[in-house]
């Protein structure tokens, strides 16, 4: 196709033609084009289908506010980005874009039937229509609606690109690089402040990039932009970030920026991040985010070819594209005349300038009249016609009585709307600043600041170029001064010759009596019509927040950029209340959509979460261990031999430990070194057990409660010296326990002289468990008498193993004779290898966490967090023996006598002997009084631990059962997913070697 609508001029590079495709058709554009400008140059206005009615839609705007022209760009390798605004997609060679929300092609969309069914699809349609029959929603309606609704399609493959993340600090952050932002950045930088200037477009300059008549400091505006950028670039303390959207304004001047690094490149280098998330802490902020032109609300205002006047001017002046040859303007604002004049000079025929105002005046109007353009004061567009492209309008004359009368039809191929501008206050609003309503100009502008920011230019409702530059300059100086930089005497840039925004209109434009056939849209992206908003008010919605949710106006990615004020004005009119009293909806972060990739950054795949590995991890990996995640740790789960199932491996590992011995990597065990003259007293207060009289070289089990009396952790505590304890705790609980200890040490027991050090990763721990344990380690240990007399169960000695210093514990979590060898982590693997070599002489194996769980459950040893749930007391566990009765106080002691903690029917830990020894209940299964409890009746408890015990040849089960400790020998039932609940007898929770004879071998 030919790009017949391309004209002279603009900022595109004609030496660099680009071919691209849209819906499979190949077109030509130039470097500097956007997808929208290149398509318009080829005469293509139809770029999308609307959300609800599937109406043909063309481009409305030229920037981030575009609601209609949403496209999906694919670029191979699974890269597919939906919902991009064609007005922001920079053209590159080979770009492939597809339109969205169509059911066959853009030109013929079967969904357009919704447009004819329009009367049924008004506000609240979903809520009203799909209520009956019951059950049909989930089965029938929802799947259909999901298929028909939604914008774009999520990518199906993992994102092959990578994303970077940067933190930055600056003195002054300037959001927006139009005239106000450039003046502000320049003034702040000249004061010596570190400045970051961010703009969402590929070039700085904002509205000046389409300016034709204005001069700044006696040079054409675009020359001033070039000189200013050059000056900023030359200053090392200035960071210029084009293609960077400031999307969120958070607490304490913390702002989120996303920089699109490679999306505009035909062949992005694979080493470069696609996008970069900037998290910036700015001392001061200047918001120079500009303003967005409003559409006018009349029938057919969404036809392809109907667009904003400012957009048509940008396409004409910046991109060298004529949006139509026979152009009608519909305006309430002087600035539209600048568009009319520019398009006229570029060769378009201006068919009419319909001005809502009865007596428009100003430099634009004067210039248009001088050029003999057909200015028609007091005129409205009653309706625009055409389906796939606007082809004409019906004009209406506003009489002296205010009534509108039809005044004939006019043909056209483009219709430009100019309803005035809405300041872009999204970031100001996100900063929690309070907006003020400017009654005379019908706009919300920044009022009271909450954070250290100030607005300038269009964002503040300032529209004359000279005033914008003065305001930007002053804002930049003020920001730099407040950040501590004394400004030198630079003067603000001086401007003249522009045709500023003046006037505007909010709400639905006047109509002839009896109304008009056709839909008048307020929110183009969400397909919300003026009548929907009126309907919402008639159905009782009073607050704009409710109107918004009922009609969906201002929602989704658009966030009401073009629609907010018109919706509000229509609602205010329908409710007959002043506009500011109806309120303004919240502007939500992000300003424009942000990719998940940029938020995730490098935190994906292997880098999603840190992984903790023990020094012995590599050995287990070499042995083919399966690993399980415990917190961030990778723990060896079981060591299956070739051909073995997990169950077979666990059975073998358990039996080997009971018969001979097993090696277990216990390095993940949490460890805290408690040191100081008051260390014993500190442990007395933090654990239920007494520690004052614990001899050096001996260990004691410790049970830790929170202040409410509930078990929060447990572990073995060894005394190495009168003032030094080696405290162990659950793998997952270590950080929590340290924080708990520090809390009491720092804030309650401040009289105690104690120092706490986390030593979890300083020690590798090799557990050797089983009848042969002593024989295995004996040849390697020096300086420690391992005999049962010298080193009984629950003792700790220091010495060396393989020449490495060790803290050797005689402890057991299996019920067998056992040692836990602590060596410095750096020696963990070497000592493990030596112990393993010795162990192999005894026909033993390594075992994983699954076997460890079975072995401990056979002995009835609890696991905090599995057999407890944060509401379990020592008495509930039958562990009153762990409480030091003579201690005056410990954390949780007072709470143990609370009435709720002593009542009889509390869930208590018991063993459950299933009638069928082969029945291994699901953990979490409910415990009920009868085999078939009535639906809705309460359970009496649940299964907390359940395993198949090879050594016992049957299942072993523990659970928390209401009043269980007093219900020994009673029969209860355990639910199962594959049938009726099965019977089990309540027993003591200890199944193997109840007298502990094996422990003391």
């Amino acid at each position: 196709m030919s790009d017949g609508f391309r004209i002279k001029g603009g900022r595109i590079d004609r030496a660099k033609p680009i071919s691209f495709s849209f819906d499979g058709t190949v077109y030509r554009g130039y470097e500097g084009d956007t997808l929208a400008s290149a398509l318009l140059a080829n005469g293509v206005h139809l770029m999308g289908r609307s959300f609800k009615y599937h109406r043909p839609r063309g481009v409305l705007a030229a920037g981030a506010e575009e609601p209609n022209a949403l496209v999906t760009v694919t670029r191979g390798g699974g890269r597919s980005t939906p919902n991009l605004r064609a007005t922001q997609v920079e053209l590159y060679e080979g770009l492939q874009a597809e339109s969205q929300n169509r059911f066959s092609s853009l030109g013929f969309d079967i969904g357009e039937i919704n447009d004819l069914a329009g009367p049924l699809l008004g506000a609240g349609f979903y809520y009203k229509t799909f209520m009956q029959p019951k059950g049909a929603w989930a089965k029938l309606y929802e799947p259909l609606i999901r298929r028909a609704a939604g914008l774009g399609e999520a990518p199906r493959h993992p994102d092959p690109d990578h994303y970077a993340n940067r933190f930055a600090h600056c003195d002054v952050l300037v959001a927006g690089g139009g005239p106000a932002g450039l003046a502000a950045a320049l003034a702040a930088a000249q004061s010596g402040a570190r400045v970051i200037l961010a703009d969402e477009q590929n070039e700085f300059g904002g509205s000046l990039l389409a300016e034709t008549t204005a001069t700044i400091d006696d040079q054409p505006a675009q020359d001033w932009v070039r000189a200013t950028i050059a000056a900023l670039n030359a200053m090392p303390h200035v960071t210029l970030l084009p293609r960077t959207t400031v999307f969120g304004y958070f607490q304490q001047n913390f702002l989120g920026l996303v920089e699109r690094v490679t999306d505009h490149q035909a062949a992005p280098p694979s080493a470069v991040a696609r996008e970069r998330l900037w998290q910036v802490r700015a001392k001061e902020v200047v918001l120079a985010t500009g303003a967005i032109e409003r559409p006018l609300v009349f029938a057919g205002n969404d036809r392809p070819g109907v667009m904003l006047a400012s957009a048509a001017r940008i396409f004409c002046n910046r991109y060298g594209v004529l949006v139509g040859r026979r152009v009608i303007l519909f305006t309430a604002d002087d600035s539209a005349y600048a568009a009319a004049l520019d398009l006229f000079r570029a060769g378009a025929t201006i068919m009419a300038i319909a001005d809502l105002r009865t007596n428009p005046t100003g430099p634009g109007v004067d210039a248009a009249r001088a050029a003999k353009l057909p200015v028609m004061p007091g005129t409205v567009i009653i309706a625009a016609h055409g389906r796939l492209r606007a082809d004409g309008v019906t004009l209406g004359a506003i009489g002296e009585d205010g009534a509108v009368r039809a005044a004939g039809d006019l043909p056209c191929d483009a219709l430009l709307m100019a309803g005035g501008f809405t300041p872009t206050v999204h970031l100001f609003s996100q900063s929690r600043g309070k907006l003020t309503y400017d009654e005379a100009r019908q706009m919300f502008i920044p009022g009271t600041s909450v954070q250290r920011e100030r607005s300038a230019g269009g964002a503040k409702g300032t529209f004359a170029l000279a005033a914008i530059l003065a305001e930007g300059h002053a804002a930049g100086r003020d920001a730099a001064q407040k950040a501590g930089f004394t400004s030198e005497a630079h003067v603000a840039p001086q401007a003249k010759g522009d045709i500023p925004v003046a006037g505007g209109f909010v709400g639905a434009v006047p109509q002839p009596k009896g109304g008009v056939k056709g839909k008048a849209f307020v929110d183009f992206q969400n397909d919300v019509k003026a009548t929907d908003i009126i309907a919402a008010t008639q159905e009782g919605f009073r607050s704009i927040e409710h109107v918004k949710r009922y009609t969906t106006t201002g929602m989704a990615t658009d966030q009401g950029k073009t629609s907010n004020m018109n919706a509000l004005a229509i609602a205010a009119d329908a409710l007959d209340r002043p506009l500011p009293q109806v309120g303004l909806t919240t502007f939500r972060m992000p300003y424009t959509p942000v990719t998940f990739g940029s938020i995730a950054g490098h935190a994906r795949g292997d880098l999603f979460d840190p992984v903790r590995q023990t020094p012995i991890h590599g050995w287990a990996d070499e042995q083919g261990a399966a690993f399980e995640n415990v917190g961030l740790w990778k723990r060896a789960w079981y060591f299956a031999k070739p051909g073995e199932t997990m169950h077979e491996a666990v059975v073998r590992e358990c039996m080997t430990v009971r018969r001979a011995a097993g090696l277990f990597d216990a390095s993940t065990l949490g460890k805290i070194e408690v040191v100081g003259p008051d260390a014993a007293e500190f442990l007395n207060r933090l654990y239920t057990n007494p520690f004052s009289k614990l001899e050096v070289g001996r260990c004691r089990y410790g049970l830790m409660l929170n202040e409410a009396g509930f078990v929060m952790d447990d572990g073995v505590i060894g005394r190495l010296a009168t003032d030094r304890f080696h405290v162990t705790m659950t793998t997952g609980g270590a950080p929590r326990v340290l924080a708990h200890m520090e809390d009491y040490l720092q804030t309650e027991f401040t009289d105690l002289k104690v120092w706490l050090t986390s030593t979890t990763e300083q020690w590798a721990v090799i557990a050797v468990q089983g009848p042969r344990a002593r024989a295995i380690i004996a040849p390697l240990v020096e300086g420690i008498d391992l005999s049962a007399e010298a080193m009984p169960h629950m003792s700790v000695k220091t010495g060396t193993i393989c020449g490495v210093e060790t803290r050797l514990f005689r402890v057991s979590f299996t019920g067998e004779l056992g040692f836990e060898i602590n060596v410095p982590s750096d020696y963990g693997r070497a000592v493990w290898d030596a112990v393993w070599a010795e162990a192999r002489k005894h026909d033993v194996c390594a075992y994983g966490t699954e076997a460890m769980h079975v072995l401990r459950a056979e002995k009835g040893y609890i696991i905090v967090g599995q057999d407890t749930d944060g509401t379990v007391t020592p008495a509930d566990l039958g562990m009153e023996w762990a409480i030091g009765k003579s201690k005056p106080d410990f954390v949780g002691k007072r709470s143990l006598s609370r009435s709720d903690l002593v009542k009889p029917n509390r869930p208590q830990l018991v063993g459950l002997r299933t009638a069928d020894p082969g029945f291994v209940p699901d953990m979490g299964a409910q415990i009920v009084p009868v085999a078939n409890p009535a639906p809705g009746s309460s359970a009496q408890g649940f299964v907390s631990s359940s395993y198949d015990s090879a050594v016992l040849g049957r299942s072993i089960v523990m659970g928390l059962v209401a009043g269980g400790r007093a219900r020994m020998a009673e029969t209860v039932f355990i639910t199962r997913l594959d049938g009726a609940a099965a019977p089990a007898t309540i027993v003591e929770p200890i199944f193997y070697d109840p007298d502990g004879e094996r422990l003391h071998g």
């Binding site: 607490q251 304490q252 998290q279 409410a708 809390d743 804030t747 005056p888 709470s895």
Partner: protein, 100 residues
Amino acid sequence: MLLIECPYCGPRPELEFRYGGEAHVARAADPATVDDEHWTAFLFWRGNPKGLHFERWRHASGCGRFFNCARDTVSDVIVKTYKAGEPKPDAARLMTGTTP
């Protein structure tokens, strides 16, 4: 992300801190002498004010110290941080200076 002034280390990003609940809730020197009602209040009753809230934070990924903080729950502005053990500042005097 809040910027929090650790009384020991200076301003640091919120990521380095852990919240520690309401401040100035003292544990009785001898809990055995506290009746059920007062003990329940100590355990479970916490303020939820609209406005100035005195709360504990811990510089968990820094010095590890607990400290106290006066934060305006309406604006989320941290008005003052101070070391644990220092007296509770006067609320009325603090609130006059919340807006920067």
